[in-house]
């Protein structure tokens, strides 16, 4: 499933990131790598961005971007 499908509070492991190179670079630099644990902290109202926690960093990303990140609970 994709990262966007997680419920607030759920933790999952990143399986793969399927996106263009520019976004991939940015996500990698932020710590998104296969095998890393990621927690969905909360979702904004009106299908706004997601707040996810990876390591010690909290990151905001849009739903459209989270749909490109495959995770496993």
């Amino acid at each position: 499933m994709t990262l966007s499908k997680l419920c607030p509070g759920e933790v999952a492991t990143i399986v793969s990131v399927q996106t263009d190179e520019a976004l991939l670079q940015r996500l990698m630099a932020m710590g998104f790598r296969a095998g890393k644990r990621v927690e969905l902290v909360r979702k904004a109202s009106f299908s706004g961005p997601l707040q996810v926690r990876i390591g010690t960093t909290d990151i905001l990303l849009r739903k459209s971007e989270a749909e490109k990140i495959m995770v496993q609970v």
Partner: protein, 595 residues
């Protein structure tokens, strides 16, 4: 002169350190190989003057964002004698990658581990000796905000500068692409020297975010905070601005005018009403800018700006903007100039340009003065507030319309992946530094342009010398008559056309210019306007005033911030066209309906 480059990821306190290092001596400047301006400052270290350059915060040496390219090109064409790498100790496990990438470039490096206090609170312990040995680099612990470890850092910088400069490898790019090596290095160094607790303690940030980002309470709190900020800028800014105006007026009467008394009247007029008023116009913006950025420093440095982006993004994304644009748009209701400068927090150029195209439609406090006067003069006390409110609605509507129309021309290529930093409170020093830097940049970048514009309008309204100032016989009057066929379909009279010409300089002087044109002021002026105009004409004039170019200072800021005269011209042309179309539609429709 030896040169130091400051490098690091965003949110590492790099700029705070830069301000601490350079104090108030910094300036913006151009560098070989790059098109954006960078802040730099000169300081005395040991017995030598050293130049320090603040590079944009980046996540990655081989990313594709504008900032990452700027850093690569800068390092390529301006090899520094020392690169100071600022790392956020609380995020060390992620930040090490950038350091290792930089290490591969064979630069002379010194590592500053900032926010050591925050890392400690999170239970992260870092053995700097071990880490220093594992990396083969000197490491200094530091709190840039409070200055702990600062003397040690200066000492280390001084001695690192004495070291011989290693050569810069030719094939930077190919060196940069060895990601795998970096990953292995990262885990080796981390394993030896860093311990991170399995689960982060529930800290203050989590508790605050629980309320601030609440699904139902988040947005009302956001609007409450914005309302308070706006009120505060208005409340403190207006008297300060009036005070500066009074000071300049007093100085003029008491000192400058008597001094110039012996000169011919025309030259006196040029010096006083042209150049001196131009300088006063610039000066009147200074308190607003300082105040605005004092508050922006709080909003930004506390980390609330990222939270605002989280809350507002769902709505703004549909307009091709993001949540941060919305904050700037709201701030524009105080004054457009600092709001335009504030768009610098957005690192994607198309996103910034679209935001800058939208902000001038915010009904600023100067325009409000015109509307208050007109609506009081031409509308009943019951209708006047409705008129004002409708103008605010038009302000939002034109901004949204502009964003939707042009979002395809400014496609935002930067992914919306933002870091959400923990809540921190900026020190007073940080806030004051910010206000001072922005005011300095405004003066440095726009003052000549504004003074020249004020002088130009003075010349238009005072030449030829035989004509009475601002009368129909002056160049402005002739221009007004010539433009009459354009403005007649909007119901705007030639007198009001001249006032619009003044309004191009600043909306603050529109009412003043009408006083000059009619030769009367206050209630008398209101009376004269009532006799000449009906409410349809007055509303059409207000609509035009709302939508067309806000003021010269805004134009000057647009040009400097976008670094493009073409963009400035486009912004002026679009707002003029939209102003004309809407006023035309309103005036003709109202007349057709029999008003």
């Amino acid at each position: 002169m030896k040169r130091i480059a400051l490098l690091g990821m965003p949110n590492t306190g790099k700029s705070t350190l830069f301000n601490r290092l350079t104090g108030a001596t910094s300036r913006v400047g151009n560098w070989p190989g790059i098109t954006v301006e960078l802040l730099s400052g000169k300081i005395l270290l040991g017995s030598e003057m050293i130049e320090i350059v603040d590079l944009p915060g980046i996540y990655d040496m081989h990313g594709f964002s504008e900032d990452e390219q700027v850093v690569r090109h800068f390092l390529h064409d301006n090899v520094p004698d020392l690169a100071l790498v600022v790392l956020n100790a609380a995020q060390i496990e992620r930040q090490l990658s950038l350091l290792l990438q930089l290490k591969q470039l064979n630069l002379n490096l010194l590592v500053l581990l900032n926010m050591a206090d925050e890392a400690k609170k999170l239970g992260i312990t870092i053995d700097t000796k071990e880490m220093s040995a594992a990396l083969g680099l000197p490491i200094i612990l530091l709190s840039a905000k409070y200055g702990n470890g600062y003397p040690e850092a200066l000492q280390a910088i001084t001695s690192a500068l004495r070291a011989n400069l290693p050569g810069m490898p030719e094939k930077v790019r190919s060196q940069l692409e060895k990601d795998e090596h970096i990953e292995r290095e990262m885990s080796r160094v981390l394993k030896q020297s860093v311990q991170i607790p399995a689960r982060l303690p529930d800290n203050l940030t989590a508790h605050l975010d629980h309320i601030m980002l609440h699904p139902w309470l988040g947005l009302p709190i956001f609007f409450g905070i914005m309302f308070l900020l706006f009120q505060a800028i208005f409340l403190f800014g207006q008297p300060l601005q009036a005070g500066v105006n009074e000071l300049f007026g007093w100085l003029r009467e008491a000192a400058i005018a008597p001094l110039l008394g012996s000169l011919p009247p025309a030259l006196q007029g040029l010096l006083l009403d042209g150049i001196y008023n131009g300088v006063a116009t610039v000066a009147a913006f200074i308190p607003l800018i300082v105040l605005f950025f004092l508050f922006m420093a709080i909003v930004e440095d506390t980390g609330y700006l990222s939270r605002a982006a989280f809350l507002m993004d769902a709505l703004m994304a549909r307009m091709g903007l993001d949540g941060r644009s919305f904050v700037m748009l709201l701030m524009g209701f105080g004054c457009n100039v600092p709001a335009l400068m504030g768009t610098r927090v957005m690192r994607s150029r198309p996103l910034r340009l679209l935001s800058m195209l939208v902000i001038p439609f915010s009904l600023c406090s100067a325009r409000l003065q015109v509307f208050v006067f007109f609506s009081a003069a031409l509308f009943s006390p019951r209708a006047a507030p409705v008129v004002l409110f409708s103008l605010y609605l038009f302000s939002f509507a034109t901004a949204i319309l502009t964003a939707i129309l042009f979002k395809r021309h400014y496609p935002n290529n930067e992914p919306f992946v933002l870091e959400l930093p923990p809540y921190r409170f900026p020190t007073l020093r940080q806030m004051l530094m910010r206000g001072w830097h922005e005011a300095y940049q405004f003066l440095h970048r726009t003052s000549k342009f504004i003074v020249a514009g004020v002088v130009l309008v003075w010349l238009l309204t005072n030449l030829p010398p035989s004509a009475a100032p601002a009368s129909a016989d002056t160049l402005a009057g002739i221009l007004g008559a010539w433009l009459h066929p354009v403005f007649a379909p909007l119901g705007i009279t030639p007198d009001l056309t001249i006032a619009l010409l003044f309004g191009f300089v600043a909306k603050e002087i529109v009412i003043g210019s009408l006083s000059v044109i009619y030769g009367m002021s206050g209630p008398e002026l209101s009376g004269a306007l009532v006799q000449q105009l009906d409410w349809v004409q007055a509303y059409s004039f207000m609509l035009f005033t709302l939508i067309y170019t806000p003021c010269l200072s805004t134009i000057a800021t647009l040009r400097k911030e976008s670094n493009s005269t073409g963009f400035m011209v486009f912004s002026i042309a679009w707002s003029l066209a939209l102003a004309w179309l809407l006023s035309f539609a309103f005036y003709q429709a109202a007349r057709a309906l029999g008003y």
